[in-house]
Amino acid sequence: MAAHGGHPATSLGLDMRKLGMWTFIGSESIFFGTLIANFFRWRGSSEGGLGPENLDINLTGAGAFVLLMSSLTMVLALAAIRSGRMKQYRLWIGATAGLGLIFIGIQTLEFTTFALEGLGMGSSLFGGAFFALTGFHGLHVVIGVIWFAFLLIFRVGKDIEPGEHVSSDNHSFVSVEICGLYWHFVDLVWVFIFTLIYLLPAV
């Protein structure tokens, strides 16, 4: 299907936006990889400021669970739109956005707690690297939630008839799918971040 006016079918048989998203995720992997490396460089430098002992693993563990569940609801949303169950699709996108918001809420609580204790970005190198890494991840979650809201507000997929089995290159379906690719990536990054910051023994 010639989604971009005048172009013939694509050379790889892949939707343009999907290939673009994968390419962008490649770049994002290096971005987070660098932030993770920076955290590792400084995770032993917490004298007098934010350090591993301040982290509340129970609270953030709950956040991690919520975020992982949002990947499940994203998969369910995609399966629903694929088989034309439009009501369920909207429900699952809404659930994904809600879980993302809960994660943001937990992170805001965590950051606020640190800030109130005077443990800011400049309090220790550990703190600086911690806020840089988890902050950029949080920003990505916020962008994802805005994207979900956008899918719902602008009724992406309204051209799909209820019960219609759409093909994998349907324009609206791909619009949702690339959002899903992004979201799964953001979740996967959190798996690494959570493991490395919260689960590894302190040095």
Binding site: G5, G6, L19, T23, F31, T34, R41, L125, G128, A132
Partner: protein, 615 residues
């Protein structure tokens, strides 16, 4: 179905003309915007160099003071790399990649416009720093020198945020070209049939895609060091300045291949055309380009030999750096073999291309010298390095780009640049370049340090410095002549014809300048020299019959890219000047992106131009 009734806008005024440039999403017009803007920044950065050479013409000169000199060499380096040569290359990507693969446009035309406007606003923002004190810590901006304590002004914020905007623009553009080249090839245009230039566009895009994120992170961390009081790179706070050097050069070294690979691609197109035989060892040239790209990620620490990383690190980085000589040598030998026993046609483009091979080889060989870490300890921070990097970036990149401008100007405008004046331009540029940078080898070996605004007489440096300055002025004269040649090349009849140089690749199969939709019919490609096949093998480029029956719809113009780009630039500038400005920028970006997704992207059907592939 195409009709002949589509009328041009009845009132074509300068306002509608300007508006059409602001809203354009046509890759060829964006190419012109890139080339023109980058040329302007090249002129600014070149003027900075001329002021420095004027100061250095004589010992103990007082044309400018040391503080201004520091700003000039910093801005000269940053500008030439990020807002001159990189966007000049991007201009060629835009002009050629879609034509080379038989596409109608890039994969994401509006993102392409966004990349351009982000580049323009980022570059303007960077240069605005001259009014409040430009960055003066070198293009590599080593902390702690560039920390708040030693660089208290806002120059470094301009550097950090400007480069963040420019880097993001480059990443967006890389995604665009990777998808375009992988996914929009005409039927039969296998990867192994793509022109070398387009291959190098692909490799360069991957380099930018993976090299810039670490740099963005480093820049943000430096910004928090300056504004929020973290101490990542500040040894006084327990931080590690060498970490900055690693992160910076992880971008900085692939960056030099970002600057040189596209001109290598240009030369790989120009040489076979005027040697009138196919490029010798196409596969070897492509694969050596790919291996240079890979190895480029594994050599960054050769910029840090004098830091004291230890003998093992220095040894390993010496060895890998020397490995790069192999694929580079493969390229040089293949270009030479292309010229061997050829019936060479001497044009201005050919003169620049052959000079590229010679000068780049000299620069490559001096690079091999300080690839050896013990030698580098002698050369580092001397004019020998300045000589080396200008032989690869000026004798290499810029000469390659000049070859490209002379070669593709007819395709871009329909007019051939004046060849007689062009050859004079080449002669002056070649002479001026070598007079400027040749003596710097000697100065460096004699121990003259770089980045020093003055020197005392009697060290044997006076004569060589004067010679370098004379050469610089000669180079400047050659570029003034070039401006005249270009202005002349904008006027007169479009008499170049579709294929003035007897080219082999697909861009020569369409009109000069190409219609907005590039090709009337989608070509079907059977070799990597489709146009030569048509002329000499009696097999003209066939067309895709199925695609020929459908209407051609080009993407509609859009003003949202410029609004989003302006919003991003305001958002960055607001960090320095006022947070409300950032807020306005953020709203522009947010609203712009929403509106972007909601507008119709398909324009009216394009009319077949009456020529091009398929006639």
């Amino acid at each position: 179905m195409a009709t002949l009734t589509r009328s041009l806008p009845a009132t074509r005024t300068w306002q509608t003309d300007v508006w059409s440039w602001i809203t354009t999403v046509d890759h060829k017009r964006i190419a012109k915007l890139y080339l023109f803007s980058a040329a302007a920044f090249f002129a600014i950065a070149g003027t900075e160099a001329m002021i420095m050479r004027t100061q250095l013409a004589q010992p103990d000169a007082a044309v400018i003071d040391g503080a201004l000199y520091n700003q000039l060499f910093t801005m000269h380096g940053v500008s030439m790399i990020f807002v001159a040569i990189m966007p000049l290359n991007a201009g060629f990507f835009n002009l050629l990649a879609p034509l080379h693969i038989g596409a109608r446009d890039v994969a994401f035309p509006r993102l392409n416009a966004l990349s351009f406007w982000m580049f323009l606003f980022g570059a303007i923002f960077l240069n605005l720093s001259f009014f409040t004190g430009a960055p003066d810590g070198g293009w590599f901006a080593y902390p702690p020198l560039t920390g708040k304590e030693f660089s208290p002004g806002t120059g470094m914020e301009h550097w950090i945020l400007g480069l963040a905007v420019l880097g993001t623009s480059s990443i967006i553009s890389s995604v665009n070209f990777i998808v375009t080249i992988l996914n929009l090839r005409a039927p039969g245009m296998k990867m192994t049939r793509m022109p070398v230039f387009t291959w190098m566009t692909l490799v360069t895009s991957f380099l930018i895609l993976f090299a810039f994120p670490p740099f963005t992170v480093a820049a943000v961390l430096l910004l928090t060091d300056r504004l929020v009081g973290t101490g990542f790179f500040n040894p006084a706070a327990g931080g590690d300045p060498v970490m900055w050097q690693h992160l910076f050069w992880f971008m900085g070294h692939p960056e030099v291949y970002v600057l040189i690979l596209p001109p290598m691609g240009i030369v790989s197109e120009v040489l076979p055309t005027f040697a009138r035989k196919p490029l010798f060892g196409y596969t070897a040239v492509v694969f050596s380009g790919i291996s240079i790209g890979f190895l480029g990620f594994a050599v960054w620490a050769h910029h840090m030999f004098s830091v004291g990383l230890g003998p093992i690190a220095n040894g390993v980085f010496t060895a890998i750096t020397m490995l790069i000589a192999i694929p580079t040598g493969v390229k040089v030998l293949n270009w030479s073999a292309t010229l061997f026993r050829a019936s060479i046609k001497i044009t201005t483009a050919m003169l620049f291309a052959v000079s590229f091979v010679a000068l780049f080889t000299i620069g490559g060989l001096s690079g091999m010298m300080h690839a050896a870490s013990p030698v580098d300890l002698q050369h580092t921070d001397t004019y020998f390095i300045v000589a080396h990097l200008h032989y690869v970036l000026f004798g290499g990149s810029v000469f390659g780009i000049l070859a490209g401008i002379y070669y593709w100007w007819p395709k871009l405008t329909g007019r051939i640049l004046n060849e007689r004046l062009g050859k004079i331009h080449w002669f002056l540029a070649f002479l001026g370049f070598n007079l400027t940078f040749g003596p710097m080898h000697v100065l460096g070996n004699d121990g003259m340090p770089r980045r020093v605004y003055s020197y005392v007489s009697g060290q044997g440096w006076d004569g060589w410095n004067l010679l370098a300055t004379v050469g610089a002025y000669l180079t400047a004269v050659s570029f003034l002549l070039f401006i005249y040649v270009l202005l002349k090349g904008l006027r007169g009849e479009r008499s170049a014809g579709d294929d003035p140089w007897d080219g082999a690749t697909l861009e020569w199969a369409t009109t000069s300048p190409p219609a907005v939709h590039n090709f009337d019919s989608v070509p079907v490609i059977g070799s990597n020299r489709p146009v030569w096949d048509g002329k000499y093998e009696g097999s003209p480029v066939p067309v895709d019959a199925a695609a020929a029956e459908s209407d051609i719809h080009m993407p509609a113009p859009s003003y949202w890219p410029i609004i989003v780009a302006l919003g991003l630039a305001l958002g960055a500038a607001g960090v320095i000047y006022s947070y409300p400005m950032s807020a306005v920028g953020f709203v522009m970006v947010f609203y712009g992106i929403i509106a972007w997704t909601q507008e119709s992207t398909v324009g009216p059907p394009a009319r077949p131009s009456g020529s091009g592939v398929g006639h």
